[in-house]
């Protein structure tokens, strides 16, 4: 008998223990669920024209009020056309439209059917007050505390941005560049105002 032999070792593949597999798959599933939830949440916040605007509240800066109130909720303004303008003092284009917005506000104020809301996006109080004084802004203005309002509108592009909400709380128009003149603002407000006049 041949004494020469070949000895060969053979690697044996052993699967991971069941508990380890369970742990890994559970962790992956958990992360996928979290990822899915965050994606679903971000999709829900995209607000397009024709969407119902979610409820929000704006607390005004010192010296501003709506009637006698120091804060206003969107639901309080049901039945009126609401123009929401996001601005900031560090935003140069915002300055170019500030005067036009104020003029449009003053011309629409007598009807009582249109409300302008200025939302100061991530700014400092001192500079914001100086800005409002410089442009003699008289319509209600307040800070976007913790960016809650801008997040509702999914506003991530920049400032200025202006949203027009109709009497039923439906978003009618989005303006993502500054208004150049009052003539650009007036046509946006007027159809909504005429609509409410025809309904009443």
């Amino acid at each position: 008998m041949d004494q020469t032999r070949q000895t060969t070792s053979v690697p044996v593949r052993r699967p991971l223990p069941f508990r380890a597999q369970l742990l890994v798959w559970s962790a992956l599933l958990f992360l996928l669920i979290i990822l899915g939830l965050s994606v679903a949440r971000s999709r829900n916040t995209i607000l397009g024209v024709g969407s119902k605007v979610p409820e929000f509240s704006l607390t005004f800066m010192d010296g501003y009020n709506f009637g006698s109130a120091k804060a206003v909720k969107l639901s309080d303004l049901r039945g009126k056309v609401v123009l929401v303008n996001f601005w900031a003092t560090w935003c140069t284009p915002c300055q170019s439209e500030a005067a036009a917005l104020e003029t449009a506000w003053r011309s629409s104020q007598p009807s009582g059917q249109v409300v302008f809301l200025g939302v100061d996006y991530v700014d400092t109080d001192t500079e914001a007050r100086a800005y409002l004084a410089e442009f003699d802004i008289s319509y209600p203005n307040g800070p976007d505390l913790q960016t809650r309002i801008s997040q509702l509108f999914n506003r991530n592009l920049g400032v200025p941005e202006t949203y027009l909400i109709d009497q039923q709380g439906i978003l009618r128009s989005i303006q993502i560049v500054p208004f150049q003149s009052v003539g650009q603002i007036q046509p946006l407000i007027d159809p909504c105002s005429r609509e409410i006049n025809s309904w009443t």
């Binding site: 041949d2 070949q6 000895t7 060969t8 052993r14 991971l16």
Partner: protein, 178 residues
Amino acid sequence: MKRLVWILGILLIFLAFATGQAYAQQPTPSDDQVNAIASQLFCPVCENTPLDVCPTEACQQWRELIRQMLAQGKSEADIKQYFVDHYGARVLSEPPATGLNWLVYIVPPAAFLVGVFLLYLAFRTWKQSRPASVIADTPMQPEWKTIPESGSSPKTTDSTEENDEYIARLEEELRKQS
């Protein structure tokens, strides 16, 4: 003499006011003091940029705000809270451990521990499996599987591995080659 007393009295009153004013004033905080707090905050507008190195006008305003608050005697915690109240928790370089933010603190160490555990299992598996080698004219070691050149059936001392399908396939391949 009376005149001297009057002059000294006026001087004393003047000095009292002067020192009073000096104590009431806070020293202007230095850039280092401002940046020590600004480095713990992020620019709320330009994302992923720490406030201490952010070059924009808005960030300059926020650094100036920190300087003013420090001059007013506000603490670091007060200033950070002010920023959170106004711009949200996203401005903090270290998010607060609340809600889903817990994941930031739990997932990395948990993933590390799972990784260590998996590595331990892998090393243990590799240790148990034997390195492939061919030993000629050497006595057979009892724990190794052996495959004779002649192609006869394998002799192995490990009864648990005898029926391994993989071994059978390997034997078949070796038999074909010989």
